[in-house]
């Protein structure tokens, strides 16, 4: 059997999608931003992102971190957002990315004290 690992890809155990894992934060996000469920992780958002050019973070990754529960990475990534809205404009599925980012910022309480 030939697997993807044979071509130099790695499997990140913590980034595996597991639909059975309970994820309260994701549920809350879907309630607030229903269009988030349309995301197909195509990566258009990351391709246009100002900060992904320099940090490697993009909306696709933020969404993935939210889904898999990697909240530490998510919090780090949210801080880099310049909020220009290009990800919203290029999204082929019409995900309201800007609202999703503000709501994520609010849920994960990364306010300055």
């Amino acid at each position: 059997m030939i697997g993807m690992t044979d071509f130099g890809f790695k499997i990140h155990k913590d980034q595996l999608l597991d639909q059975d894992r309970p994820n309260v934060a994701y549920k809350e996000m879907i309630e607030k931003v229903p269009s988030l469920s349309l995301c197909i992780s195509c990566g258009s958002c990351t391709a246009t992102c100002n900060s992904s050019e320099m940090t490697g973070m993009g909306f696709r990754k933020l969404h993935l971190y939210l889904k898999t529960g990697l909240y530490v990475n998510l919090k780090r990534g949210l801080k880099y957002c310049q909020y220009c809205g290009k990800c919203w404009l290029v999204c082929p599925r019409g995900v309201n990315t800007r609202k999703a980012i503000v709501e994520m910022k609010r849920i994960f309480e990364i306010y300055k004290t």
Partner: protein, 612 residues
Amino acid sequence: MESFFVIPFTIGLIFLIISLTASYIRWFMALRIKNKVRLKKALSIKWLVVSLVEVFRECLLHIRIFKVNKRLWYMHMSLAFGWFLLILAGHIETISKTGTFFASPYKAIFLDFYTRGHLETGWSVTGFNYIMDILLIFVLSGLFLAIYKRFNAKLLGVGKTANHSSTDKVALAFLWLVFPARLIAETLNHTFYDGGGFFTGFLGNLIYLQENYNFLSNAAWLFYSSVLGGFFILLPFSRYMHIFTEIPHIFLKNANIEVLHDDGITNFQVHACSSCGICLDTCQMNVKTGLMGQSLYFLRNLRNGKKPKENSIMNCLMCGRCKQVCPVQVDTLSIRMNERNRMNGKMNYDFSYLDEASWPAFQSRIVFFGGCMTRLTPAIREAMKKIFMLTGEDFIFIDEYEAICCGRPLLLSGQYEAFREIVNRTRRRILDCHPALIVTTCPICLNTFKNDYYFQIPVVHHSQYLNSLIKEGRFIPQRNGVKTVYHDPCELGRDLGIYSEPRKVLDSLVYLQNKDYKAGDGLCCGGSLADLELDVEEKMQIARETIEQIVTNDTQQLTTGCPLCKMTFQMAGLYPVKDLAEIYAESMITLPVEKITANMKIRNYSNMPVNR
């Protein structure tokens, strides 16, 4: 004692005065120190005179509504100015009859009750009776229009009317009853006791009742007094608070007091809003009304002490059309920004990665800042590059790689601290090139550069730059006959007042169909970055409505000066859309190279418009 009926009125009046004084003192104390200093510095005779004239023009004559809609103006003016004149004439009549200057308020208002049976004659008595009757008819005509507006608003030229809260409706009922109550009271007064003018006296004579029914007259006076008192008690809790709050609002406004980040002045402005609905008529948010995000409902929720919901605060294009038409000049945008700051102002950010960016920082005469939106529209970017190259300019395209935002989207979402941080970085990045001129193709960036960056060098929109090229004879335009309509971007037109330059440029390139414009009347494309609630489909609906309103039946293409508007219109997909830079660059190719290179020289940018 028959005159006990004045008690409801007196209680209402005393409550009103105490309530207003307490509110105004509280709000004034909440003013920021900066604004208090501004007010102190503004105190002068000129300020006083200008403000008093404005109070007379706006609180009573409603000149700004006159400019919007004449029938609506008559309704408002007859109620406000008519009532004022009624009070004024009543007091003058009282002074002339009693001989004392300071009569009690109830003496003046219920004068006909107190002069019952004193059958005086003479030109002054008859004259006053006539004047009072004319004024009452004047007010009642306005009242008739106001009632009619509830059934058929179209006749008064209003498309959408406000849906008022229950408190407002009760207060409205009291207000509407005031004048009929006065009419009834005067009429019955003149039925039993002679006198009265041509109207109330005549009506009084029409009715014949026996002498022992004269308790009806007293009851009518009591009713009138109660209605007035009830209205006064409801006034501080309803939209009719605007009647008195507009006066301090005008004085503060003329002292150049800023609304941003100030709760005190916000309170004054919120209560000065009359919920008249003129802003509702111009608001483009027809597609999503359920959230009550429109300025009228937003301000009403603030006024009632109900905190507006998060999504109603964010459901606004911030196009500024409501601010433009507001007859009270409430700074709706700043009040909304205050709320957004309160919500999102302290959110965390980390832009330290921008320090490691390796942008090219060599010295250039022109810094061309495309902005985020221009990165998504490469046609504009390439067109501008071509224009710079063909005119031999020493330019640098500063955000071609490792782009940085101007910060306005952060500002509009309320993340003020993050905004200041990114402004510092972008500013440093631009000034590292020591430019003589900054050109941007994005009105959103231009607005931020002009208002928040405090550059000492001229910052221009590309339409202004291209216009200067044409004016200096550096470029001879080749005109073609494509029928084009120009769309005014909100930030370029309403915010910065740049209307003529893009039109001049386009007029020399294509057949421009809308050469005439009305300042401040532009429509939003719907793609505004300020809104967080609209779906793609709803934005497209706004875009289509806007396109429908600006095109004519033989339009061939749309132009605009904003990459975001261009993208939104393209997505709506009714007409081909081009930025004016593209049209400019296209016509440039048709010129012979010798002509272009003939007068390449180092230009002086000192005549460009500097910051405001």
